[in-house]
Symmetry: C2
């Protein structure tokens, strides 16, 4: 939980204006090229000439998106920004300005909040994103609302645009994050320390694939693109639906699985399909015509980031997975429903 | 409170995806000129050539910013957008795209949510703002996070820029909203029905002064500008501080007070200073050199919106109010502190 501070070390004592002052004077606060940042009625930013403006908003709520007992302030600060950066990566955008809305219980410890902001701003600094505004308000539970504004001068990568015959590609490896969560909440024990650490880190500190997204868009090779937040199956389903109700044939041998995840798989404690539906991978999933294969391989090599071919787009709806035991149809429900899940 | 629905008419039954579908198909959903709206990883918008992009984020929390017992869903939907439009008005911006983040208890009634969205989108339609994205998540209490993106091709109106000798101006009338709140929560009774309705409406349905903000910025006459959310004294204090630690001499006879508010004043139940510190006026407060007086009068006449001269900026910090009984110094605390207020 957010450690409740005494009168001297919690937010109620620190105060809203002292907190905003801490933010505005933070050494990692990038404000270069920003005409007006924190402190006016709105921020003022000049986009590059001819650019399109890309905007995404994500909300994270205590007890729903994260458990404060198993998530450090630093991990949460990192992830709150990383998930938005991942959305922007999926458009091929360059992140520009970020806006942080915080609903905070007054008993929030000052040290916790500083650690959260330090991690958030360190990640922002890595990608040269400016914290350009936000709002800090009292709330009964911790709520984080992040709006990220980016730009692109190329045509952005959309979820629509895939065609039958296109290849389906994925960056990095899948399923690590959901295994990491199981390690964290105690459902998966007995791994080597190195494997457990690897999987936990993949859950806690996702790496948004911004460089890959931008390269793909600049080269014009991806016909459709999405980032994996709900799992490969659900997000591929979103992409195929937006591309006009298409389907996919995946090959199980082509799915990119890390060595630690493969060892868990081989222990029989999870199945391959669990790794495809666990979510929070924050890798890029995209489609491209067969003619683009060599260029995709070049981009992957240049970025030293593995990009796997998983299968192909087909005209008939539905996602199938072909493996040694034959072909199975995967269920493509729409992803996690925040409200209905309570009833089921 | 948000009326808790039965299993058939609450959000838990309706579901997140049905709600998003309702939003995406709403007849008031303006999407013209938007390359990509709701449904992709980010929205895509092409700003006007040479424009600066203005962005503001506001969060509203149940029990902190509004009381669901005395606020209808429609009033809340209106106000959630109106307060952001007011921030943009203070920059002289043109509203372009809005992003709505909602943290919702699963027991929220479907009818309540529809009424909220209808009002939000009707106001958006009035000002040609496109709902271009957002996020809907489960939460323990109602949390509304609105990010508004706008543009300006002129130099935006900032809080900094006032100089000693500048006149201080204010649109509309002040203090109506705080009196309306007192009527609503029962602290102010016995008014005529018409007066009570006028004051309540001024609290529930603030009119963002977008046209005035844009005209002032286009004419280049305002040296500094802010919208009044914390009350004339606190917001003038913000503006003077950002302009380099200046002060102001106000004349009590020049403060714009509506006829209903004047009748409450004359009844002796509030003092003039209460109307200057109550907050939520959402009028524009700006400074301008004496040479701009005629142009400001012309703009006010063109818009048929009263703009009052309240006094002048002086080089010495502090805000004084001169009236028939002499001159008093007004306390310029920084405005409402969300966290410290709990301790005091």
């Amino acid at each position: 939980m957010v450690a409740a501070g005494t009168r001297d070390d919690c937010l109620a004592d620190w105060g809203e204006f002292a907190f905003i002052d801490f933010l505005a004077r933070h050494p990692a606060l990038a404000q270069a090229d920003l005409e007006v940042g924190i402190g006016d009625d709105a921020s003022v930013w000049r986009p590059p000439a001819g650019a399109r403006v890309l905007t995404t908003l994500d909300m994270l709520v205590e007890g729903v998106h994260f458990d404060l007992a198993s998530t450090s302030a630093a991990d949460l600060g990192w992830k709150a920004l990383a998930v938005n950066l991942s959305d922007l990566a999926a458009m091929g955008g360059r992140p520009e300005c970020v806006y942080l809305g915080l609903g905070l219980p007054p008993a929030t410890a000052k040290a916790w909040l500083k650690e959260f902001i330090d991690a958030f701003l360190r990640l922002a600094e890595c990608y040269r994103v400016r914290l350009a505004g936000g709002d800090t308000v009292r709330a009964g539970e911790l709520v984080i609302s992040v709006t990220l504004v980016g730009s692109t001068t190329a045509a952005p990568g959309l979820r629509s645009g895939a065609s039958p015959g296109d290849g389906i590609y994925c960056s990095g490896t899948i399923g690590d994050s959901c295994l990491g969560l199981r390690v964290l909440d105690g459902r998966l024990a007995g791994l080597s320390e190195a494997d457990a650490e690897f999987l936990k880190k993949r859950h806690r500190r996702p790496n948004p694939r911004l460089a890959l997204g931008r390269k793909l868009v600049a080269a014009g090779v991806a016909s459709a693109m999405i980032d994996i937040s709900d799992g490969v199956v659900a997000d591929l389903g979103h992409l195929l639906k937006r591309s006009g109700g298409l389907g996919a044939e995946l090959e199980s041998g082509r799915l990119p699985i890390s060595a630690p995840a493969r060892r868990v798989l081989e222990s029989g404690r999870v199945e391959l399909v669990d790794l495809m539906t666990g979510g929070e991978d924050f890798e890029l999933l995209f489609t491209a015509p067969p003619s683009a294969a060599a260029e995709i391989a070049e981009i992957a090599a240049f970025l030293e980031l593995p990009v796997a071919w998983l299968g192909r787009v087909v005209g008939r709806a539905g996602i199938s997975l072909a493996g040694p035991a034959g072909k199975i149809e995967l269920k493509t429900k729409g992803g996690y429903d925040h409200f209905q899940s309570q009833n089921q």
